[in-house]
Amino acid sequence: MNAVEIQHVTKTFGPVTAVDDLSLNVPKGSVYGFIGPNGSGKTTTLRMIMSILLPDSGTIRVLDEDNAAAYTDRIGYLPEERGLYGKMRVRDLLRFYASLKDGRDVKREVDRWLEKLDLTAWADKKVEALSKGMSQKVQFIASVVHRPDLLILDEPFTGLDPVNTDLLQQVVLELQAEGATVIFSTHDMNVAETMCDFIFMIFKGRKVLDGTLTAIQDQYGTDTVRVRIEGEPRALHDLPGVEHITDRGQVQELRIAAGRDSQQLLAAIMSRARVRSFELARPSLHEIFVRIAGPGAEEASNA
């Protein structure tokens, strides 16, 4: 059973194709991470799921409904940039947003969430008096207070301190445990790796990754070596069978060409420098992201 089914959806803005023939299924009860560089089509896709934007072609089915009016109130949405009325009091604002979603027990739910996110003391303050982190928590409450079946969060953890990040992550996982489906976009690959059941990457409007983290990493195999050597990292330059080196300070990350033997590589390195550690690894999501969307990938795709 899927919470969201996107079939061959294309959306253009004038000459720009923001989303190009996208198909995607988001299973019910899952946490689905949307990643991709800025301007790749993430927000457009999220807005189409919300039916704020309509696709030029293709179909989108949400919570087993084709008609947006039937599911709008069952979705919670936290946009990338915070949208709060600065002059309203926190409690009134949350009640207003919850009423717009046809929320039940609005007053009680608002107070419960304020308490849960430690904002009760600020309930009667104007929104403009809140710090950035507190505003973000208020915005988060606005997206969950009506108990949505589908929660769409666009960059939910940006700008939060570690304590509040942990708090909101915990709440998201609780909502999932209660049966909600969560879609969130993020630039933080660690968060995507640790929280998401599935990861979807969009680049230049097209789907480039879709699946579990393991399945995605399996596509790339064990082609990464993390090496620590004594002396200058320059000693690793121009090694045979190495496609790319990423300097991470203390550690050098080497990508081995397909079909090359890692033992031969180790021998080659040892002939140049003393090796402190040598680890065979799968590429991280960060590494995969950069391979797809980094400057090298641009050059490769342009060549």
């Binding site: 807005r47 704020i52 949405y77 709060l84 002059k87 717009l100 046809d102």
Partner: protein, 438 residues
Amino acid sequence: MRKTLLVAVRDYNAAVRTKGFLIGLLLVPMLMGGGIGVMALFEKRVDTRDRRIKVVDHTGLIAPTLVEAAKRRNQSEIYDKQRNRQVQPRYLVEVVPPNDTDPQALRLALSDQVRSGELSGFLEIGKDAINPGDDAEAARIAYHAENSVFDNARNWVVGPLNERIQSIRIEASGLDESTVRRLTRWMPVEPLGLTKVDEATGKVQDAERNSPLQVILPVYALVILMFVLIMAAVNPLAHSILEEKIHRITEVLLGSVRPFQLMVGKLLGAIGVSITMVAIYAAAGLVTARHLELSSSVPYHALPWLIAYGVAALFMFGAMFLAVGSACNDLKESQSLMMPLWLCALSPMFLWFPVMQEPTRSFATWLSLFPPWTPMLMLVRIASPVTIPAWQPWVGLVGVALFTVASVWAAGRIFRVGILMQGKAPRISEILRWALRG
């Protein structure tokens, strides 16, 4: 509809429950009445210091009369008897013998006295002033002062001066002055309304006397009410949608409501604010009219039209401003894009007076049937004392209703695209394309 009303109620409360609303409520009549008030204030605050005026009379026959006339005026015409205080300056007229050998030297000397503040001005009466001949210079009567155009002394002196000249002329002709005065007496024409039958008694009533104020004031009040009605809605509306767009509030709202619901909700909220404001003014106006016993001048028959046209105008202009506001990304952009709308909305403010003066002229008829201007100009024609054909307000109303529906429909299409548009400012041609193609 529930969501639309929620948006409307929030916007209404956000606007009305602020200090800004109260300030606006006081500010509008202050600005509108301010001009009139300041003028009235200045009129009352007349400089009552003595004005010394010297008269150089080359005829030798007029100046003494002016001295006497000034004395009479100083005794009886410059006091507010009810409040028992002086409200006009005294004119102290002195006679100066002419200098026939060098008149320019005398003029210069007197001018210097004016410059030094010793004198307010001086009057020079040419020797042929009583019976002007070909010599224009000799017949001239001139009043010299630093600001002779606006000097009240010059206006005053015209009366006694001409009266004296006429008397001398009549005396010279051998006629009886009282007969001549009686024969040449000017008669005023009174402005009266039309006689009508009193429906209660069946008797023919006397026509009412119309003063310009009685005619202009009610029409002006209606024009101002309509102006405030439109302004109080469209300006905050355009700003609020722009602010919500800049702060990304619209994106959150659009997660819950359709763009058209949002637009109509905001429109209803602003219309509510505007109607609240105008209702307060109208009530205050009616109470004041009753207090000043001017109730008979209130054009009650025009009030239903004010409401009908007002509501239509609010939807029409509100939707247009909202659409343009939604397409902009900052205040500067919105100001330049809204300029044509402002011109369209405010043009009737420059046209209402000629329309009121001759409401049945084809110029007035056609202007009042142009839908964006109908609410104000048709109202002016209805409220004017002249009866206009009964079908015209109805045709105007149908035109406005159709135009309003079209405006809201087009605005909805612009709003849907514009509200999510970020980045560069749209051109007017682009906005029109959104309206036509969606």
